[in-house]
Symmetry: C2
Subunit: 122 residues, 2 copies
DNA sequence: CTGCATCATTTCGGAACCGAATTATACTGA
DNA sequence: TCAGTATAATTCGGTTCCGAAATGATGCAG
């Protein structure tokens, strides 16, 4: 069952939730970092630097730097792959899970406040 | 009619659309800038620096800098308020409208791809 | 017309991010 | 063992953003 949003609804939700995101969470996360974080927490592991870089269409240093920053915030954790010690496996943390959950709460709350245009199904 | 999203749906949509945002649009917009842009295009005018700053809970230089950047990208336009020449009115542009529309397309497309969890209405 | 209030902008030092190129480490196959 | 390949991390110069404070421009009240 797909989610069929109308343009005004989609943008309205984005508007409200992004606004609340800035208000509650602040400027401490770029869009790239947010995309990386969500992917780590929502897509099935394992996650590697190389895989994330390919996923987003960015270079590997972008991922490394984002992991530095988010690691320092406690949102993710790096672990060497013992099978192939060249690889780094990115692990989730409790703090990161809470962060993602809070973001979900914001989206849900703003979605609930929205008055959706309805009826135009035809 | 509110939009009642479940956590996995809300975050799934955010995940997919943010990922696509990074892939298509790139890093040239911060979350704050995005929030400002969406507010300008979705909330009724007029928009002032002061109003936007209060809305987002940030200082005015943040807005000024964001308008510099987005103005340079052609996404917004500044006009002096002739009634009170201390004020700056932020106007929309064709290019900005196209940008917002494109973002809406991304969200709608990703929403349509989602398989929503359903039935849990109770 | 003079002082005060209210706009937006600019400046400052510090931090983060950007892309591109380079480095360091580890695996692989001859 | 010894290239050759693949991984992540680091360095480089330049740009942008950050918050806080200072500046400039305009309006307002006496």
């Amino acid at each position: 069952m797909p989610l069929d949003l109308r343009p005004s609804d989609a943008l309205g939700l984005w508007h409200a939730a992004t606004l609340e995101h800035v208000r509650v969470i602040g400027p401490d996360l770029t869009i790239r970092q947010l995309a990386i974080l969500l992917h780590i927490y929502l897509a099935p592991p394992p996650h590697t630097v190389r895989g994330l870089a390919a996923m987003l269409g960015v270079t590997k240093p972008v991922i490394t730097r984002a992991l530095d920053t988010m690691g320092h915030m406690g949102l993710v954790r790096r672990v060497r792959d013992e099978r192939d010690r060249r690889n780094v496996i990115i692990k989730r943390t409790v703090e990161g899970a809470l962060f993602v959950e809070k973001l979900g709460d914001i989206i849900i709350a703003e979605g609930r406040k929205l008055s959706l245009s309805e009826g135009s199904g035809a």
